[in-house]
Amino acid sequence: MALSRLISFANKQMLGKLAVFTAIMFAFGFALVPIYKKICEVAKVNDFMRPEQVKNTQVDLSRKVRVEFDSNIRNLPWTFKPEKTSIEVHPGELTTVVYEVHNTTGRAMTGQAVPSYGPTEAADHFRKLECFCFTAQTFKASETRQMPVVFLIDPKLPRDVSTITLSYTFFEMPGAGTPSTQAPAGKLETNMVGTPRQAS
């Protein structure tokens, strides 16, 4: 029947259109990944993985903030600890602290440190100028290295925050080759202190 053939043709056309739409939506799901990163960049959310530019470092001598340093390891046979577990600083004061990492294995390994802050409102006021967390770190067999973090606390830190915890977790990057190709979200150009770029 001519009519039924017509309907069947229209149905196939519709099937094609809807299938294309479905495929586009599948691709859209993956497109959300760069969109999300871009939005985070623009909104300055989640922006802890790159050096910050600090212009005016007015030191607020009227108060002191206690900064505690914490270190964790995930799936890595390394030892990782801060030189001092806590210090007291004035907001606005440029400070350097050192973490020490020792690769306990007999082979080269690459890891990535990820910072987090407590309390959460401290995160927006903790400015890192240099950090080993800005790039992946490769350690030769049995290598020990001291790595600095240079930071200051923004004097705009709310007055009720008197203690900030800076916690790093080192994750293994399985199969990581040269660290320079493994730069995380923030796309860094700066080569930081203590991050020798070397092939493993």
Binding site: M14, A19, T22, F28, G29, L32, N46, A185
Partner: protein, 534 residues
Amino acid sequence: MASIPHDAVHGGHGHDDQHDHHPTGIKRWLTTTNHKDIGSMYLWFSFTMFIVGGIMALIIRAELFQPGLQVVNPEFFNQMTSLHGLIMVFGAIMPAFVGFANWMLPLQLGAPDMAFARMNNWSFWLLPPAAILLVTSMFVPGGSVAAGWTMYPPLTVQQGIGMDLTIFAVHILGASSIMGSINIITTILNMRAPGMTLMKMPMFAWTWLITAFLLIATMPVLAGAVTMILTDRHFGTTFFNAAGGGDPVMYQHIFWFFGHPEVYIIALPAFGVVSQILPAFSRKPLFGYHSMVYATASIAILSFIVWAHHMYTTGMPLAGQMYFMFATMLIAVPTGVKVFNWLATMWRGSITLETPMLFCLGFLFLFTMGGFTGLVLSLTPVDIQLHDTYYVVAHFHYVMVAGALFSAFAAVYYWGPKWTGWMYDEKLGKIHFWWSLIAFNVTFFPQHFLGLAGMPRRIPDYNLQFADWNAVSSIGAFAFGTAQIFFLYIVIRMIAGKSGVRAPAKPWDGAEGLEWTVPSPAPYHTFETPPVVK
């Protein structure tokens, strides 16, 4: 559904496929392309999964009957909460409404079958393997998914092989839903009887058309999200893995881009069912048909721009929280239009309270309550307090169970006589309604109190202060569970014709629509010559 006399009315049509001499026994069901057979299979599958998910819910409630750990260990408890959610959403509620769509859309639109009958068979038969993957994942080392039905990383990136089975199950369920939706859209847009314009379509067809578009827009995104988890787990990608610059919170954004429309994927067909049944038993046409259509479409569009209200505690900027709060509150407007239209439909109607109508009234009352608690939760400052508490659990069970499930019951009682050719037992139906209504409220109303008092969800143990209301809630849950076994009994009695009352072609005098012009039970083939709608 052996009662369908599938050889009854289809002589002399000379069509070119296999319908005339279809196989019998199990092969009939494996190879069938008949929308009624497939609709019945969807409904039976859905009920089976409803019982499986229900047993999981009862394990949860048994554990929560008293503080402390008595029945299951916490790892298993986590698996139960996760699987219960996944199975109820993807295995029970969604297939139930696809089942109704399969059975009723061709009948309501005057079409001989669904547009792609073979694909229809395929989309059903994808479901059992997915269900088997989900259920058997409990028995692999490490157990099934245990990070909640939302499958948030980083937990789901770290879990055992059970998570891989779950990911594949979600892929398969997604493929099934997408094919089902393509079928439904094509059927509705291309296969309507002559004269049936879009604006003359029954509301059930309208809500399903919009739902199907939501499905094909969001299911692929969910498929993408779980694929990212899969590649993070096995192929060294770092979409959500913080070590490589990924972000677990990004998963939540992608998931809820699917997840919030999913809420309306479940709710809209339920709205459609209610919009059919309320006018039938009020003996008045649906009030504000056009505004109903526009309200449904607005809800669907708005559902895409509110997803992050599930994520107020992830540290969004204030502007984001404000935007998502106001956008979410905006959804109350079209939803309110619907509720007021339903009320106006009943206004001065000649109302009788048969079981389908009772379930619709139960829906109206309880769904509106669930909507109001949703409005409470949309307020960012309140939500930050109530996030992941039992208040949220109470809220979404009011809209999912009293909303979607009650309307599914209403649909079974309303269209059941058309499917089986027999009336159900009205007295038993009413008992089922009151039993479900009371047990439901005993189960979930106290959870509002628990949530407001701060009891966290997804935790197998709780503080002593929550003990009393948890005990009440567990008793209600077991009563609700047994009510559904009673429902099975009612349905089997209906199929077997135990009520002794044969269903006429139009058992409800106020009902409207083409489905009531065919005999009851509906013949195996209907509308091979399209009816003309004036």
